[in-house]
C-alpha cells in the first residue's frame, strides 16, 4: 500500500540527493581532479559572496516583515467576527494566485510608472520611468516585496485559523480580569500561537533561501542581465548550464539543501509543532 509512494520517495526524494552528492565530487573544467575541491571552488567563485549578500539582505527584509505583518494582521482579523470576516479573508488570499511568472509580470506593471495602478503615487515620489526603480541596489527590496505579497495573505488566513483554536474560556477569563483587546492580543493570543508563527518562519526562511524565479525572469527577459546570478540558486543554475560545471552546481545545491535540512530537523525535533504526530520517541 505504501509502495507507490515509497517508489516516488526513493526515486525523487532520496536518489537525487545521492546522485547530486556523487556528481558534486566529479571532475569539471575548472577542477579536472574532482573531489571536495568542487565545494571550495563554488564558495570561492567571485559571484558567490555577492549572491550570498543579496539573498541575505532579501531574507532580512522578507522574513521579519512576514512574521510581523502576518501576526499583526491575523490578530486584527480575529477581532472581526461575523459577516465581514469572510470577504476580508477572501481578499487577502487573492495575491497568492499571482505567483511565480505571473508575479513578475504583475509587479513589472505595478512598478511601471506609465501604466501602474499606483502611477499617481509613483509620480508623487518623482518616479517617472521604470528604470529609476529597477536598479541593482533596489532588487532585494523589490523581490522581497514580490515574495511578501505572494505569501503573506495566505499565511494571514492560516494564522487566523490557528487563532480560532484558542478556547473561549481563556479569552473570557482574561476579559473578566479586565484585560483590554490589545492586552489579550499581545499577552494571550500571540504567545498561544507562537509555535505556528515559528513554524511559518522556518518555512518562509527555507523557501526564501531558494529564491530563483523572480530574479531569473527579470534578468533573462525584462531587464537583461540586471539580476543575473543574483541569488544562490541562480548561481548554481549558471554553474550547470553556462559554465558546464555540474560538479560545482551540485555542490552548491547540496550546501543550500543542508541549510534547509537543518531547519527541517529543527522544526521536527526542537519545536513541539509535530508533537503527537507519532514522530517523537514514546
Amino acid at each position: 500500500m505504501i509502495a507507490p509512494y515509497l517508489v516516488l520517495l526513493i526515486a525523487f526524494g532520496i536518489v537525487p540527493v545521492i546522485v547530486a552528492a556523487i556528481t558534486s565530487l566529479e571532475p569539471s573544467v575548472i577542477n579536472p581532479g574532482g573531489g571536495p575541491l568542487n565545494y571550495l571552488q563554488a564558495l570561492q567563485d567571485f559571484r558567490f559572496l555577492p549572491a550570498l549578500g543579496n539573498v541575505g539582505v532579501f531574507l532580512l527584509l522578507y522574513v521579519p516583515s512576514m512574521l510581523i505583518v502576518v501576526a499583526l494582521m491575523s490578530l486584527l482579523l480575529d477581532t472581526v467576527q461575523g459577516r465581514w470576516n469572510v470577504p476580508l479573508r477572501l481578499a487577502y488570499i487573492v495575491p497568492a494566485s499571482l505567483t511565480g511568472a505571473t508575479a513578475v509580470l504583475v509587479w513589472y506593471f505595478l512598478l511601471e510608472p506609465t501604466l501602474s495602478p499606483y502611477k499617481d503615487v509613483l509620480h508623487a515620489l518623482g518616479i517617472t520611468q521604470g528604470g529609476q526603480i529597477w536598479r541593482a541596489p533596489n532588487l532585494a527590496w523589490i523581490f522581497a516585496l514580490m515574495a511578501f505579497f505572494t505569501g503573506a495573505g495566505n499565511w494571514i488566513v492560516v494564522q487566523y485559523g490557528s487563532l480560532q483554536s484558542i478556547s473561549d474560556d481563556i479569552l473570557e477569563a482574561a476579559r473578566i480580569d479586565g484585560a483590554n483587546a490589545w492586552q489579550i492580543g499581545w499577552r494571550i493570543k500571540l504567545p498561544l500561537i507562537q509555535k505556528y508563527i515559528v513554524y511559518m518562519g522556518i518555512l518562509v526562511f527555507a523557501a526564501g533561501l531558494q529564491v530563483f524565479v523572480e530574479p531569473q525572469l527579470i534578468s533573462s527577459s525584462v531587464y537583461p542581465g540586471l539580476a543575473s546570478n543574483w541569488s544562490l540558486n541562480q548561481l548554481s543554475y549558471s554553474f550547470a548550464f553556462q559554465s558546464n560545471n555540474l560538479g560545482g552546481a551540485a555542490a552548491l545545491s547540496l550546501m543550500l539543501l543542508i541549510v534547509c535540512l537543518i531547519g527541517a530537523v529543527f522544526v521536527i525535533f526542537k519545536t513541539d509543532f509535530f508533537e503527537g504526530a507519532g514522530v517523537k520517541e514514546k
Binding site: A91, Q164, I268, G278, V279
Partner: protein
C-alpha cells in the same frame, strides 16, 4: 466538500470555535476600532488591486493602457483581439502550453493524491516496519522547499534519459510528502481506530478496509489533497523550466517566460519590434495562468486553514 466526517474534528484535531463568545471587546473605544478597520480594509484593497488591474488590462489596447486611467475598462472585443494576437506567436504554441499545463497538472494531481492516500492510510492504520523513520523522512521532505531539489533532480533525470519529456515533470512533481502527511493525520485523527479494527475483525483485508471504510469517509481529505497539489503544480516554474528543453513541451508558466523575453512589450530592447505581442497580450497570458488558481483559492479558502497547520495535532 464538507462531509459529516469532517465536522466533529477538523483535520488539525482541534475544535474550531464557530463565532466567538458574545462580543464585548472594547478595542480602546471607537478610535481604536476605526483604526483596526482602516488597516484591515486598506490591506484588503492593496491585496486585490493587482488582480483587478490584471483582469481589466487585456480589455484595452496598448495605447489605452498607457493613456487611460488604470482602472477604466476598454471593450470585451479586445480580449478576443489579444487572444488572436497570442495565437500568432510561434503558430499558436500558447494553446499547446495550455494543453500541456492542464494535462501535466491533471496527471500530477491524480498520481499525487492516490499515492498520498495509500501511504497515509498505511502509515496511520496498518502495521508496517520502520513507520517512525518513514514519517520523519516524509516530514523532512515536506519542510524542505521543492526548489532545493531541482538541480539534483535535473542531474538524475538527464542520467536516465528522461530530459525534455512530460514524464520528467509529471513523475518528479507527483512526489507529494505533504499530501502523505495530511492523509496520515487525517486517517489517524478523524476516523476512530475502532472502525478499522471492526472491519478487520470481520475479515476485511487492508485494501478492503481502505476501500469500503476509510475512503467513503474521506471526501474532505481528497478535496484538500487535490487543492494543495493543484496549487503547487499549476504555477510551478523552476522544475519544468529546468527539466524541459523544447517549446512544444513547455507549460504555461515556462511559456510565459518565453513570451516575456521574445516581445518588446516589457523591454523595448527585446525581440522583433513589429511583434504583435504587446502588453495586453502579455497580461492576457498572465491572466490565463492566474484565473484558475484564483477560482480554486476562492472556492476552497477553508482548506487552507485546515491543511497547512495539520501538523499540530493534539495527541
Amino acid at each position: 466538500m464538507t462531509t459529516s466526517a469532517m465536522d466533529p474534528a477538523t483535520i488539525s484535531g482541534r475544535t474550531v470555535a464557530r463565532g466567538h463568545a458574545p462580543k464585548k471587546r472594547s478595542v480602546g473605544g471607537t478610535v481604536g476600532r476605526t483604526g483596526v478597520w482602516i488597516v484591515l480594509l486598506v490591506y484588503a484593497l492593496v491585496s486585490i488591486i493587482p488582480m483587478i488591474w490584471l483582469l481589466i488590462a487585456p480589455s484595452k489596447t496598448a495605447e489605452q493602457l498607457n493613456n487611460q486611467s488604470p482602472f477604466s475598462f476598454g471593450t470585451f472585443a479586445n480580449y478576443g483581439e489579444a487572444w488572436n494576437h497570442l495565437l500568432t506567436f510561434q503558430n499558436g504554441v500558447i494553446v499547446q502550453w495550455l494543453v500541456n499545463s492542464v494535462l501535466y497538472t491533471v496527471a500530477i494531481v491524480a498520481i499525487a493524491c492516490i499515492t498520498a492516500v495509500l501511504a497515509g492510510y498505511a502509515l496511520a492504520a496498518t502495521a508496517i516496519p520502520l513507520k517512525r523513520s518513514l514519517l520523519i523522512i516524509t516530514l523532512v521532505a515536506m519542510i524542505i522547499p521543492p526548489v532545493a531539489l531541482v538541480l539534483p533532480l535535473f542531474i538524475e533525470i538527464s542520467n536516465v534519459q528522461l530530459f525534455d519529456t512530460p514524464a520528467a515533470v509529471i513523475l518528479t512533481s507527483s512526489f507529494y510528502p505533504f499530501g502523505v502527511f495530511l492523509a496520515y493525520i487525517y486517517f489517524s485523527t478523524s476516523i476512530p481506530k475502532d472502525i478499522y479494527e471492526a472491519a478487520r475483525m470481520d475479515g476485511a483485508g487492508e485494501f478492503a478496509t481502505l476501500w469500503r471504510i476509510a475512503l467513503p469517509l474521506s471526501k474532505g481529505l481528497f478535496g484538500m489533497l487535490a487543492f494543495f497539489s493543484f496549487s503547487a503544480s499549476w504555477v510551478n516554474y523552476f522544475l519544468p523550466y529546468v527539466l524541459l528543453g523544447s517549446a512544444e513541451n513547455f507549460t504555461l508558466p515556462v511559456g510565459l517566460g518565453v513570451l516575456f523575453s521574445s516581445t518588446p512589450a516589457l523591454n523595448p530592447g527585446n525581440g522583433a519590434q513589429q511583434s504583435v505581442i504587446g502588453r495586453p497580450e502579455i497580461a492576457l497570458a498572465g491572466l490565463l495562468l492566474a484565473v484558475p488558481i484564483l477560482i480554486v483559492f476562492l472556492l476552497s479558502s477553508r482548506l487552507l486553514v485546515r491543511g497547512v497547520l495539520a501538523g499540530s495535532v493534539k495527541s
